[in-house]
Subunit: 498 residues, 2 copies
């Protein structure tokens, strides 16, 4: 057996164990009774430790070196070797006692945070939050040394391979200048239009479920390869051939839940579109969180909040809930779906104000990793940032620096991928609709075939063959930038177009 084949066998097993953990995590959020929590934690820990032991076997390094010298690697195999090395570097960069200490610190901190947030009691979580940050800084330094990156970039690279803060700074600085001005214009334009009428409920959960499934299928979700369920926090889980999305049903307002379903469907279609020939190999995985978020936002923000889609979906909504009257007019529903309201809470934000939330978090976490900001000073820095970027100040930390789980749970370097994903979504959708004039008409008749026909070869089917930058350049003719996103915002919110 060649070294390359031996590596494929080993990664196949590690990734199959990772998939097993993925299904167990889905079950934990969707099916597991509360009494199963302890046993499940032990099962997941056993899987993690076992997979980590396989990845840190010293033979992997030797095999990677030998495989490089072997002949006959095509582009996919070469990329697979590159991704294997990346995964191996990440796995071996951090000493196992630090991995364990961090895992425990994050579990503790997350538990305390779950109490501190509703009580708006930042002081309560501060000690364990400091412990997490201390360990995260050590992890960032260890990864930085192994990968030859800055500490922050080394964390970012876990979620977005090749992501670098120098480029993010450029884009985010430009956006941070553009957005406050644009927001003012968008709100003025909105004020000149009719206030949208609320849709009269209630909206029974089973009818929301049926409508969600119907629209998922129209978009291309295949229920022989996936599921729709309920969980407290909607997410996409499972594995590429069995991809499982979740939602939650608010019987007073179906619109947000429904858009959440379409958002997760975008994630799911990316997973489903990954090349079957490369299952369980590193090169066969989704490229990173930027492209993943681009696929959910392309579906939700670009396609499904467009007037074209609402023209198709509004009659189905009205029919699903037996609605009547002017509130169910597509024009009204489109206004509801494109309403801009500056809000203190990121997850409630519209697409115009969302980037400000992300830019704030990105800047703050970068400063904390660099040692330029300490947890004691976080609430003040947060409130200053909100004032500068959105013009509103949280009345308490619950609506401020306590609102997101990420930092308390150890997910540092993740935040920027949300807004980079929004930029990529706009740029990819613009390129797709330029390339095929039937994509928007297709969406208007509920036929996502033309859109998927473009996305599959340009994004989904490429998996991790190339970097995000290379993929964006090949698919759109340009490197990732904020240009298309700005054009999209202007067209939708100033011109009222799409």
């Amino acid at each position: 057996m060649t070294a390359y084949r031996e590596l494929e066998t080993r990664f196949r097993r590690v990734n199959a164990l990772g998939e097993a953990a993925g299904v167990l995590s889905w079950d934990m959020s969707v099916m597991m009774p509360p009494g199963g929590a302890e046993a499940r934690a032990e099962q997941l820990a056993a899987l993690k430790v076992t997979a980590h032991a396989l990845m840190t076997d010293p033979q992997i390094g030797e095999l990677l070196d030998r495989a490089r010298g072997e002949d006959g690697h095509d582009a996919w195999r070469q990329a697979n070797l590159r991704e294997m090395r990346r995964a191996w570097l990440h796995a071996n960069a951090v000493p196992s006692d630090l991995v364990e200490a961090l895992s425990k610190a994050c579990s503790t901190c997350e538990m305390v945070w779950r109490k501190a947030r509703p009580a708006s009691n930042y002081a309560l979580v501060l000690p364990s939050f400091k412990e997490v940050l201390t360990l995260i800084r050590r992890k960032a330094e260890a990864k930085a040394a192994a990968l030859g990156l800055s500490p922050y970039d080394a964390l970012l690279d876990q979620y977005e391979p090749g992501g670098r803060s120098a480029r993010i700074d450029e884009m985010f600085d430009a956006l941070a200048e553009f957005l406050p001005v644009f927001l003012k214009q968008a709100l003025e334009a909105q004020a000149r239009r009719h206030e949208p009428l609320p849709l009269p409920g209630p909206f029974p959960a089973d009818k929301q479920r049926a409508l969600g499934r119907r629209l998922m299928q129209a978009i291309g979700f295949d229920f022989t390869h996936g599921r729709l369920d309920e969980s407290a926090h909607p997410f996409t889980g499972g594995v590429p051939d069995d991809v499982r999305i979740t939602t939650r049903y608010d019987e007073a307002d179906f619109t947000r839940g429904l858009m959440g379903v379409l958002h997760e469907t975008g994630h799911a279609l990316y997973e489903r579109g990954l090349p079957p020939a490369w299952r369980l190999q590193p090169v066969g995985e989704a490229r990173g969180m930027v492209l993943h978020e681009s696929q959910s936002l392309l579906m939700e923000m670009q396609a499904c909040r467009s007037r074209a889609f609402v023209d198709y979906a509004a009659p189905l909504m009205r029919e699903a809930f037996g609605g009547s009257g002017p509130a169910w007019d597509p024009r009204n529903i489109h206004r509801l779906y494109t309403r801009v309201v500056p809000d203190l809470i990121r997850v409630d934000a519209d697409e115009v104000t969302y980037p400000a939330h992300v830019i704030l978090r990105y800047r703050l976490e970068k400063a904390m990793i660099a040692g330029e900001l300490e947890p004691d000073d976080l609430p003040g820095a947060w409130n200053d940032g909100m004032k500068a970027l959105l013009g509103i100040v949280p009345p308490d930390d619950r609506q401020g620096c306590l609102q997101d789980i990420h930092w308390y749970d150890g997910a540092w370097g993740y935040f920027p991928t949300y807004t980079l994903g929004a930029l990529a979504a706009a740029q990819l959708f613009a390129a797709a609709t330029r390339a095929d004039g039937d994509i928007v008409p297709g969406i208007r008749r509920g036929d996502f075939g033309p859109l998927l026909t473009w996305l599959k070869p340009h994004v989904h089917g490429r998996a991790s063959l190339m970097t995000t930058d290379e993929l964006m350049a090949e698919a759109t003719g340009e490197p990732l930038s904020d240009k298309a996103f700005r054009a999209h915002l202007e067209a939708r919110y100033l011109d009222g177009d799409g």
Copy 2:
């Protein structure tokens, strides 16, 4: 760290991976969309191979030897070491190429059997069935050599540790003499009573589900530590702190599905009652399939098909389905639940005729393992056995030797545990009701507290501390025999009592 502690750590990890596989298997039967099958097979194979590699690490043998010499083991630790050695012997007995060949042969044979059964085409499955038997014989010989047992006992020992065919022969031979005579008497006694009235349906699935959950809770099932779902073949899955039972709903007849739910609840309560201090250790596991089946049959056959339970449950059934009239009288429902009808299909059999099905399979599989019966001659031997034991002959192999998955899927040595479980159930229930006069009155008022109060210390909480024989002797004062079972049958079916 002592060798004993090191062993605990290693078994803890292996068993946590086993639990992970258990949850994934549950998901496969209950939740997974069909398109996920291939990925799931790969995940389960990765878990199996990984756990097997951990169990066949040569250090385990050394640790077991060293741990034996260490001081301070109490009875639980000693038993844990004994069970560790047993698990280790089983895992190491069979060469890995045979494990793999058998796994593939069974998968193939099972697939062919799924076509052969509905077509009643034994010739179709014969070639792959022969292949399975050839490999099973090799496996039995390999285990026999490692364990110092006969080949058949070595297979039986996987499902029922310490189970030996010499003792089973005694009990089954006695039963095979008793049952045909008894069956005739029981059918005569039944003919003298009123024919039971059928319960008029339909019985909507959601109402069956609500009734099932209500009765499960009455019996002691805790839904914060478990679930009730649907699957094609009812089973108990999950893990002790998250035990998941399944059923299926026939809207024309709820009685069979409901008894299935109570049967699985018996399995579930055993798992739930295993000692929390010994989770993930070999000694903390259920003792074997005989005691497992004894707990489901104790709940179903001894407790829930009794007149006492039906007196409690009949009004709840009537209420659940809005029934009225004499069919809902407890006496009538009890007659329905204790009806004896010789049938060709094992899974449809009543408790009087069930042992005959098992004895037939036990004798045939023992002969096949011993090389005294070949697959070519199986259909004839099957039909002769049915004639002798039950007086009926299958008109085709679908209702004969093709009906059960076990042999085609590689589960040889499993069948006798069903009937041994029925004997143990009768013996345990008799001992329990002798010891506490409030158990039957408790069942009559839907209070299973007294019964569980007896079962927990005598069965559930003992896990694998002692052998099945030791446990039965301590709990009932006698070794396992067919005496209590016969007395139970006579009381219920001749005297019409209970």
